[in-house]
């Protein structure tokens, strides 16, 4: 039986764990603490939790002042509001000062589901990636969420950690977690599949289907989008016939673009992109939306076969 976890549950519990160890840890939220689970921290450490109401810009800029006084600040909201509404506060405040601020946003991607387009962040990775000093982690499951949060807490500088709304299947045997070091989950030299977030699980299914057809795909969990593990990408480019990139995000500016940039400069190879193709999201059940936007294991399989054809 595969373990299924909400990344945000893991996040809330990890914050409590960190809060006990470090009295300089402060957590901010903007009226979504029950959804992002920062409420768990708020209950344990009310004097180090601040709710800003529905005011993300103020929350983000306030984190800057707190960090200037030596606090490690975790700032949470939904991904679209954290990275979109407060983008300029992040650019000019969080990142320019290179402060110890960790933006951990939930409800990223199309699988937000019925709430529809306004709440489905499909651009957040792009928005954060263009900002200097920013580190970006997209954990693939519950346990990796804990590792990412712990690593971000002990690494100076700004971070963006992207979490989903729905339960994620735990991926077994990922190996050690290290910021900026991709995890090769399955070896193979026919092609490479590079995925992040919940798409790692979809990609895993695709790899199994491909293997049944005799196709050996290398599966890479690119949990850190920035700094990108360029060596791992270039190895994949050199040693396989091409790369399929999978992200629950627009294909513009996110993981796929990161990979494109590296290979086009150093080792041009075919790159197929599984992601949202310049469209807004819409209401629907997560599984139906994944189908509608061609983000399923079936779509990954098709792209993989196109590469080796």
């Amino acid at each position: 039986m595969t373990e299924m976890l909400y990344q945000r549950d893991v996040y809330g519990n990890t914050l409590v764990e960190l809060g006990k160890q470090n009295k300089d840890l402060v957590v901010l939220d903007a009226d979504l603490s029950s959804s992002t689970r920062t409420r768990l921290f708020a209950k344990e450490f009310p004097e180090r939790f601040f709710n800003f109401g529905v005011a993300e810009q103020n929350m983000m800029a306030t984190s800057v002042g707190l960090a200037s006084c030596g606090k490690i600040v975790f700032v949470s909201s939904f991904a679209i509001f954290a990275t979109g509404r407060a983008w300029e506060q992040i650019r000019n405040g969080v990142a320019y000062n290179n402060f110890n601020i960790k933006i951990v946003a939930s409800h990223a991607g199309i699988t937000v589901g019925p709430d529809g387009s306004s709440h489905q962040a499909l651009e957040d990775i792009s928005l954060m990636r263009v900002i200097p000093n920013m580190n970006i982690i997209v954990p693939c499951d519950g346990p990796q969420t804990r590792q990412a949060v712990l690593a971000a807490a002990e690494t100076p500088g700004p971070f963006y950690i992207r979490l989903g709304r729905v339960k994620y299947a735990t991926i077994e045997n990922k190996g050690e977690f290290k910021i900026g070091k991709a995890q090769v989950l399955v070896e193979g030299n026919d092609l490479a599949i590079i995925a992040c977030g919940m798409m790692v699980s979809e990609a895993q299914s695709a790899v199994k289907i491909l293997l049944a057809q005799g196709v050996k795909a290398r599966l890479i969990n690119m949990h850190t989008i920035k700094p990108l593990d360029r060596d791992c990408v270039l190895e994949a480019a050199r040693e396989t016939k091409g790369i399929v990139v999978c992200e629950e995000h627009t294909v513009i500016g996110g993981l796929a673009s990161s990979i494109d940039e590296v290979v086009s400069e150093h080792f041009p190879t075919k790159v197929m992109r599984i992601g949202v193709r310049d469209r807004f999201g819409q209401s629907g059940e997560p599984q139906d939306l994944l189908k509608e936007y061609n983000l399923t294991s079936k779509d990954i399989e098709k792209a993989a076969l196109a590469i080796i054809a």
Partner: protein, 273 residues
């Protein structure tokens, strides 16, 4: 607390020196913002020379009062008081806006004494709020001062911060509003009216103090009054004159973001002798 005539005169002299540095700096840099730097000079000179607890030899001293200039374009004023109080040598002022300078066109942490970068309007009150909340968490008694421009408070972020600062009863926070009545495009009352200003801040739960921002006695009294207010933040709404101290710059909107040329610089410095 009453200040003697000699003390007031001393402060006025220091403010005049700061104004001279601003003009010289901008004249050499050939770009920058004189108008709002000069209008807030008395407010910020008083703050640095006689109100704030700080140690220029130890900018990171944990007990220091914090200052943040939310209207970052007026950094020539900030740089001038920092140099004048000894945070860095005065000759650094002549590198303003040059490639590689610690004195960027809008302030950042390269300059000793600048805690947080600014320049994008509307965010500084939140930054100050964060510093104020940090003091509360750490049970420290330092105060936090934040200079805002009047045009700047048209930004919604300011009012989000205003709401939060009174919600969290930040009585260690003191806002300073440089109400010179001008913004880049013209008079604030024509571009986007701010009035009734005192009522607005009071409605947001702040203790608001109206003063003449060029009257040293009133400025000193306002800082004292703000210190005494408990349970809510205070704001000093200071009526000022844009370009104050240089006759041909006063209330001339063109000097919001234009540095004086060589001839204007010389004329201005003569007026400030």
């Amino acid at each position: 607390m009453q200040y003697t005539a000699a003390q007031i005169k001393e402060l006025e002299l220091k403010a005049k020196q700061v104004r001279r540095l601003i003009i010289e700096m901008l004249g050499k840099a050939c770009s920058g913002h004189p108008g709002g730097s000069l209008s807030a000079t008395d407010l910020i000179s008083v703050l640095f020379f006689s109100v704030m607890r700080h140690n220029p030899q130890d900018p990171g001293w944990p007990q220091r009062d914090r200052f943040h200039m939310s209207k970052g374009h007026c950094c020539p004023l900030w740089y001038a008081v920092l140099a004048q109080t000894g945070y860095f040598p005065k000759d650094k002022l002549w590198t303003l806006r040059q490639l590689g300078s610690i004195l960027q066109g809008h302030p950042d942490r390269r300059a000793p004494g600048v805690e947080v970068a600014s320049g994008s309007l509307g965010q500084g009150l939140s930054v100050a709020l964060g510093m104020s909340l940090a003091a509360k968490i750490d049970k420290k008694d330092y105060r936090v001062y934040c200079l805002m421009g009047d045009g700047e408070i048209q930004e919604g972020n300011i009012w989000e911060a205003a709401m939060a600062a009174s919600h969290y009863k930040c009585d260690n926070l003191c806002g300073i509003l440089d109400y010179n009545g001008f913004q880049i495009d013209g008079k604030t009352r024509e571009i986007m009216n701010l009035e009734p200003l005192k009522d607005k801040w009071e409605a947001f739960g702040w203790h608001a103090i109206n003063i003449d921002g060029h009257n040293m006695q009133q400025i000193l009294a306002a800082y004292e009054e703000a210190k005494e207010i408990k349970g809510r933040p205070s704001i000093i709404i200071a009526r000022t004159i844009k370009g104050k101290g240089v006759s041909f710059m006063e209330n001339v909107v063109d000097f919001h973001g234009c540095a004086p040329n060589k001839e204007e610089t010389e004329r201005a410095l003569r007026e400030l002798e």
